[in-house]
Amino acid sequence: MLEFIISKYNFWFYVVLMMIGLFAMLAKRNLVKKLIGMNIFQTAIILFYVSIGVKKGSVHVPIIIGGHGHGVQLIHAADYLNPLPHVLMLTAIVVSIATTGVALAVMILIYNRYQTLNEDEIIHIRQARQEAGV
């Protein structure tokens, strides 16, 4: 039982982190807090993927030792961490930066139009403006 917990507990932390992000996205009414929730969610996924590439034991980061032209020994795959999750998460980080930037830009426009970032207030102001025929 203890062995089972030790071999799985890191995944549980990522699930908890992911659910914090999901809760923030669903329950918070402030748009910036929703965006922060989305970023926490993405961070949990990135941590999860990077942790998949871990190998226990005496392993190196995925940079070949002596790879700059002098004395490369035979390369054993078991001596290096799995590089593929790292690469995939590099792509995911780029996408998350792009979405965050565009979302913040849209929020600035929303703030300029409604003078608030609270969803309920925005809906209220919209209804009031529609009734006034603006």
């Binding site: 995944f11 329950a27 830009a105």
Partner: protein, 96 residues
């Protein structure tokens, strides 16, 4: 409303934790993610791409076109931000 969301979130988290029971153990060198394709990349990256850093080799050589498409994503995001924020400053009313 908040209670419904909390129940939903806890339920989803419970299902996800239930799903981790079938995951391979953390740091297992024989796990599926570490055993099929990745040894080939680790063993052949230096020989085929002359790049000691395997992450760089995969990103820029094996998946070079993907990375080029990624720069398109960043470029599109930058253009979108520039067009959205053209001539606007924070806190200024639209009517002004």
């Amino acid at each position: 409303m908040k209670n419904i969301i909390l129940t939903f979130v806890i339920l989803t988290g419970g299902f996800l934790i239930y799903g981790t029971i079938d995951m391979p153990a953390w740091g297992d060198p024989q796990s599926p993610a570490n055993s099929y394709v990745s040894p080939r990349y680790i063993e052949q990256a230096l020989e085929k791409t002359e790049t000691p850093n395997i992450v760089t080799a995969v990103l820029a050589d094996y998946r070079g076109y993907d990375t080029m498409g990624e720069t398109t994503v960043i470029f599109t995001a930058a253009i979108a931000c520039a067009l959205l924020l053209r001539g606007s400053t924070v806190g200024r009313k639209e009517s002004e």
